[in-house]
Structure formats: C-alpha cells, structure tokens
Symmetry: C2
Subunit: 263 residues, 2 copies
C-alpha cells in the first residue's frame, strides 16, 4: 500500500479546470488517465485546489493511494513521459496514509499577473490580464491593507451562497509587485479561499487603482457583504496557484494578522 503526493504545474489555457467535466478536457482527467496506464488500476485523485477553467498552477498538490508498493521517482518519470506538455510533475513523494491535500493544508498562495499599457506582448496573452487603464500603484497598495487579517469575505464570493455558509477567511499577506515589461504581480497568501475570491479581490484592487472605486469604499464593501459593491471578477488566465502550505511559513505572524495590522 502506498500513498503518493505529487507536486504539479500546469498551463490551464486548454483545460476546463482541475475537475473532471463532460464539457471538455480537465487536468484531473489527464492525470488519472496517465496514472491508470502506469499502474494498470483505476486511480482516484485528490487535489489541494480545484482550479477553475483557464487557471494555471505552479504548485498544485495532488494525492492518490494504491494497493501496490510504488516508487515515487518512477511514478514521476512515467507521468512526465505520458502527460501532455502543458502538465508537469515537479516532485513525487510517499506520504502518510492519512495525509489529505485539501484538509491538511493551512494556507495557499496565489499569484495574479496583470499586463498594463495599450499593447500586450503576445507571450503574456495566456498568462496575464491585459488592463488598459493607468493604475495608481500607491493607492492600490493602501487598499490592499484593508484585506489583511480575518474578515467576512461575502462581498468577494461569487454565488453558491447556500454551499458556503461561513465566509470568514484570513489573508496573511497581499503584495503588489511591479514586473518587467510593464506588468504587475499581485501575490496573496490566505488560509482558505472562497469561490473566485482571489479574482474578486484582484478586480477590486484594479478598480481602486484606476479610480472606479475609492480607497474609503473598501472597508464598507467588506462590511456590507454585498458582492455587487466590489469590483469585477478578474479573468481566469492571469491566475496561478503558486504554493500550498502544510505548515505556515515563518514570515507569517498569526497575532499580527488577526489584528489586521500586517503591512
């Protein structure tokens, strides 16, 4: 009996997201197909995050169990040989029988990439949101502080109200980093994320940056818990699941986060 944890990366452009669907190809389906071929048995996968259609991953964590005794290194080699070129297995390791990629994680890091200016270089078209309006970075950084700490993020959750009753989440870190070639990266670490929460926070930050929302509106939007008051949902193709944490990284100080004073 083996339980294997895979660290995987994929370009989501040509997939309907992580989860299997009748609409078209999914990452889960591709991985299951390749694993079943290697192991000659049916395999059920569990992933740390069900990334949406078009969303990319640099550090998705996927687990499966098998009755056989497996060599993680050979599984990784085999998968990388069989999987399409837009999915890679970066690491494979054996884990405890009761390890669960979703239930055991304590935080996730997402990156969102934005391309500014009139024209986007074609290399970035599948990996960043091309945003035409000039942005006030200073104001966006001020706005990002309101999201830090523990809040009710109802205003940043799309639909499915009945499925997710508790909307309290903690953001440990939110950084806005200028990149070469007129791009920006918004990097968010939080305990768990509501449906489309990262993309709604990004859309709201960009609305503040271009003046469609004011800084003062952000705390009110959080307080009013109304999705319609926040900014638009940023498109999927700028989003990357960067890392899944199974223990909190050292630079996160819970006491500070909970008072919301982290900068």
């Amino acid at each position: 009996m083996s339980r294997i944890k895979l660290l995987s990366s994929y370009e989501g452009t040509h997939y309907f997201g992580w989860q299997k669907t009748k609409m078209g190809p999914s990452i889960e389906e591709e991985m299951e197909k390749a694993l079943s071929q290697i192991l000659q048995e049916k395999v059920d996968l569990e992933a740390a995050s069900r990334t949406d259609r078009g969303v990319h991953a640099e550090g998705q964590v996927v687990c499966f169990s098998s009755e056989k005794k497996l060599d993680p290194f050979r599984i990784q080699k085999g998968l990388n040989a069989l999987l399409p070129k837009d999915i890679s297995i970066l690491e494979a390791s054996e884990v405890a029988d009761d390890f669960h990629p979703t239930l055991d994680n304590v935080a996730k890091e997402y990156h969102y990439e934005v391309c500014l200016g009139d024209i986007q270089l074609p290399f970035h078209r599948n990996f960043s949101w091309h945003f035409f309006y000039p942005l006030e970075l200073g104001t966006m950084k001020e706005a990002s502080k309101f999201f830090l700490g523990k809040h009710d993020f109802s205003a940043f959750c799309n639909m499915r109200l009945f499925l997710q009753s508790d909307k309290i989440r903690t953001i440990y870190s939110l950084e806005i980093i200028p990149l070469p070639q007129n791009r920006l990266r918004i990097s968010i670490i939080g305990d768990r994320f509501l449906y489309k929460m990262v993309r709604n926070i990004v859309g709201t930050l960009l609305y503040v940056g271009c003046g469609k929302l004011t800084l003062e509106q952000i705390p009110l939007i959080l307080e009013n818990k109304d999705r319609k008051e926040a900014g638009m949902t940023a498109p999927a193709h700028g989003l990357f699941l960067k890392k899944v944490f199974y223990e909190l990284p050292g630079f996160i100080h819970l006491d500070l986060v909970h008072c919301g004073v982290l900068s």
Copy 2:
C-alpha cells in the same frame, strides 16, 4: 504615397518562420493578409530579420509602402484587430520613402532563454531550451569573451556556404543573465548575423558550461572555421529577436569592440 514602419512582436510557436512558405503559416503571410484587407491593395512586406520556424520576436521591424496616404495609428489598430492573438503590432510610424528595415539597420539584439534543472515549468516550454546538465556559469562567462569583437564566424554558420562568402561579423555585447525559476538569458548584440549564428554560439556556450568543450577550444574553433568543431545548434524555440537598431546604442564603443576587449 506612404511608407510605414511597424514594430511587431510574435510568438513563433505555430509558424514556419517569418517568410512565406508553402509548408504552412508564416508571420509574413498573416501580416500581408491583414494589411491587404485593410488597404484593399496588394502589399509587399520587408522585415529586418527573417526569423526561423519557431523563433519569437519582441521587436521585429517590418516595412511596406502604399500609394495611399495612410494614418499609422489606424493601421496599427486595424492590424491588431485582424491579426491572430500571437502577433501584435507594438508601434506604427511613417518613415522616409527610402528607409529599408534590413539594409539600414546597424545592429540586432537577440535573447536566448535556457531552462535548467530536471523539470521545466510548462509555462516556459515554448520559450526556453530545457537543458538538463548542470552548467558552470563562470566558465561560460569566460568563454563568451572570445566571441566579442570582429571575427570570422564560419564555424558558427550552418550551410549555405556559397551564399554567404564573407563570414566576418562583429559581436558588440554578449551577456549571460540568471533569471528567476532556474533560467538563464543569453543576450547578444551584433552588427549582422550569419544563418543560425546565435543558436550556434548559444549551443557552444552551453557545451562549455557542461564540460563538453573546454574554454581553450573556443579561440581554436573560431580560428579553424569548421562548423563541426563548435557546439550543437540550440533549438529555435528559445530564441527571441529582441531589438533592431538603426543607430548604435550609446553603451557600444566601436574602438573597444574591434580590439575584442569589451567585457
């Protein structure tokens, strides 16, 4: 009468290079098709560099003339609306009737991207050469100095010997820059380049880096002018035409270059 200069960028992955060919789609064909549609006349294009199949461009310069009086801004807008998403027009401007993108340029800059380590992130697969062997960066930097200045680059030119009799070229600058995510950029500026010269220099530098060639062999390879002694041709998909210069940038000092002492 108008003569228009276009600054264009493209991902070469799905094209058979710049030049029209019966083998499949080319950048030239796509641009001519779009321009003919806008201008309602046949258009002939001239490009600063005939990039090969799979090679990308960030700053290709393309020119055409028309009997009509054209507004460059509207041409750019129209082209960006009609062209496939992997080709963009970054700028358009009117130039003198006798401006020629190939004959008038004084230097070109190419970037070559290499991905190191066992596994390549899927986002880089169309944009960098995945090189498995560990590299000695210090030795590669030493080796790069031999290429600087004016040399006979016969050993770095593929085929077509009879077509290109003069193989003397000048390299103004050759830099090796570490990038995030275990990547390298090799940046080369030179006056003109022989067929596959950049990719042959890159292949040779990587051979030095991984120990397949020694530092001392480089001046001998240049001297012996034998293509078989140099390293392999690096694959096309790591190469970017970065910039075409119509006057030499200030940081290039010709007197230093010609003695080959530029570092």
